[in-house]
C-alpha cells in the first residue's frame, strides 16, 4: 500500500500493488507523508473502496473541502447503522451522508433549518432507519454541539434507506410516500383500522417496502405462475380487487403497470393483514 496523496493529516489516498486506488483513514496517517511512501500499517483504521474512479475522485474532493470532524461523525453514524441493520450498505453512503451532514451544519450555522415533509412517514415506515437518524442527531450534538430537530433524523434516515435499497434521494422519498398511501387504500377498502404495532402490520409494510423498491427500480417479479394466480384469485376475490385498486393508484402516479405476479402476492399479503385474529 503506497501513498498517492495526503488529503489531510488523517486521510490519504493510496494504491495497492495492482494500482487500484482507495482512501485510507487513520490518526496521523497523512502527517508529512510523500507520494509513493509505504503506508504505516499500524495507523490504518479504515479503508474505503469505492465502485469506480469517479466515486473515489468525488470522495477525495469532498474530504479535502470539509472539516474532518464532519466526516468522523458521518463515519460513526454509518458504523452504527451497519450494526442496527446488519446488512451491507452501498459505499456511496460515505459520500452522500458526509456531504449531507456537512451541508446541514453549514445551514444550521447560517440560521437556516428546513423541515422534512416526510417526517411522519419515515417515522412509521422506516422505524429502524429513523432510530439511526435519532442516534445521529444525538451523536452530532455530542460531537459538534449542534442541536438538530427530529426532521434532520428523518433526512438522515432517508440517506440510510438509499444505501440499503440502492436508490437515490428522489426514489427514497417516493418509496416513503407510496407505502402509507397503499396502507390507506387497504384500510379504506375494508373500512377498518390495522393495528400498527402488530407483527402482521410489520410484515405487510415490509412487503410494501420491497414492492415500492421494485416499482421504483422497475424490477417487478413476473414469472407467470398460472396455478398460483388461479388459486389466489378464486380464493380471495375481494382482496384481489383491493390489490387492483392499489395497482390503479401506482399506474396513475408512477405510470408503471403492476405485473400479475405482484398482484397475486399483494393479494395474499392483504388477506393476511386483514384476517388475522
Amino acid at each position: 500500500m503506497r501513498v498517492i496523496k495526503a488529503i489531510n493529516n488523517n486521510v490519504v489516498s493510496a494504491k495497492d500493488d495492482t494500482g487500484r486506488e482507495f482512501v485510507v483513514m487513520g490518526r496521523g496517517i497523512g502527517f508529512k507523508v510523500k507520494e509513493n511512501m509505504e503506508i504505516d500499517q499500524d495507523r490504518i483504521e479504515k479503508v474505503f473502496y469505492m465502485d469506480n474512479q469517479n466515486t473515489i475522485d468525488h470522495f477525495k474532493e469532498l474530504l479535502s473541502n470539509i472539516p474532518m470532524q464532519h466526516f468522523k461523525v458521518s463515519n460513526d453514524i454509518i458504523t452504527y447503522a451497519k450494526q442496527i441493520l446488519n446488512k451491507k450498505l452501498n459505499q456511496n453512503i460515505y459520500i452522500t451522508l458526509t456531504d449531507h451532514i456537512n451541508f446541514a451544519v453549514e445551514r444550521y450555522n447560517q440560521g437556516m433549518m428546513f423541515q422534512n415533509p416526510l417526517l411522519w412517514e419515515v417515522q412509521s415506515i422506516y422505524k429502524n432507519e429513523f432510530q439511526i437518524g435519532e442516534y445521529a442527531i444525538r451523536h452530532i450534538s455530542d460531537q459538534l454541539g449542534i442541536f438538530f430537530p427530529e426532521d434532520e433524523a428523518a433526512s438522515i434516515a432517508l440517506h440510510i434507506v438509499n444505501a440499503e435499497y440502492n436508490t437515490v434521494m428522489a426514489d427514497a422519498m417516493n418509496m416513503t410516500k407510496m407505502v402509507p398511501v397503499i396502507v390507506d387504500i387497504v384500510k379504506e377498502y375494508y373500512q377498518t383500522d390495522i393495528a400498527e404495532d402488530s407483527l402482521h402490520y410489520e410484515r405487510f409494510v415490509t412487503h410494501l417496502k420491497f414492492l415500492a423498491q421494485r416499482i421504483i427500480n422497475r424490477e417487478l417479479l413476473d414469472s407467470q405462475e398460472a396455478e398460483l394466480h388461479n388459486v389466489v384469485t378464486n380464493l380471495y376475490p375481494k382482496e384481489y380487487a383491493c390489490a387492483q385498486e392499489i395497482a390503479k393508484y401506482i399506474e396513475n402516479i408512477y405510470t408503471y403497470k403492476i405485473t400479475e405476479e405482484e398482484l397475486v402476492y399483494l393479494t395474499v399479503h392483504i388477506r393476511r393483514v386483514i384476517t388475522v385474529d
Binding site: 396455478e227 388459486v231 378464486n234
Partner: protein, 166 residues
C-alpha cells in the same frame, strides 16, 4: 394466568382435519408445483387419490367452489380455511371430469360428499392427480401438524391445528 394455562390445554385450541379424499397422504412439500410445494397458499398435505370423491374434512361452510370445479375451499366451524385442490394445473380441464354436489355457501357436515372426479380420465388427459389439501390461514395457528399416511380415509386425521395463544 390460570385462564391462560387452561387455554393451553383446552380442546378449543386444537382442531383436527380429516382426509377429504381416500388415498395416500404425502407432505405437500413433495408436490412439484411451486404454488403448493413451496407452501405459497398454505400448509398441509397432498393426497394421491384412490377414489375420485371429495368429502367434507370438517363441519363447516363451503366458501368457494372454483368455477372450473377443480378446487373447493371450506371454512371450518372453528375458523380453519381449508383448500382442496384436485390435481395440478387442472384448471385447464375447464370443469370436464368434475361433478359438484354442493354449491358455494352451503353448510356441510364432516363426511358429506362435496365433489366427484374421474381419476383415470384426468390422468389419461395428462395431468398429475396429486391433490393438495392445505390450511390457508396459517398465521392464526402456532402449530400445523400434518400426518403422512397410507390409504387414509375420512376417519383419519391428516392435519392437526393448534391456535396461537391469545
Amino acid at each position: 394466568m390460570i385462564s391462560k394455562l387452561k387455554s393451553l390445554f383446552s380442546k378449543d385450541d386444537k382442531e383436527l382435519i380429516y382426509a377429504p379424499i381416500p388415498g395416500d397422504v404425502i407432505p405437500v412439500t413433495k408436490v412439484s408445483d411451486p404454488t403448493f410445494g413451496q407452501e405459497l397458499v398454505g400448509k398441509g398435505v397432498a393426497i394421491i387419490p384412490r377414489e375420485g370423491k371429495v368429502y367434507a374434512p370438517v363441519n363447516g361452510n363451503v366458501s368457494t367452489i372454483f368455477p372450473t370445479l377443480h378446487a373447493i375451499a371450506m371454512v371450518s366451524e372453528n375458523g380453519a380455511e381449508i383448500l382442496m385442490h384436485i390435481g395440478l394445473e387442472t384448471v385447464k380441464l375447464k370443469g370436464e371430469f368434475f361433478t359438484a354436489h354442493v354449491e358455494s355457501g352451503a353448510d356441510v357436515k364432516k363426511g358429506d360428499l362435496l365433489l366427484e372426479f374421474d381419476v383415470e380420465a384426468i390422468k389419461n388427459a395428462g395431468y398429475d392427480i396429486v391433490s393438495p389439501v392445505v390450511v390457508c390461514n396459517v398465521d392464526n395457528y402456532a402449530v400445523i401438524d400434518s400426518k403422512v399416511d397410507q390409504n387414509a380415509g375420512n376417519k383419519d386425521v391428516i392435519i392437526a391445528l393448534t391456535k396461537n395463544a391469545q
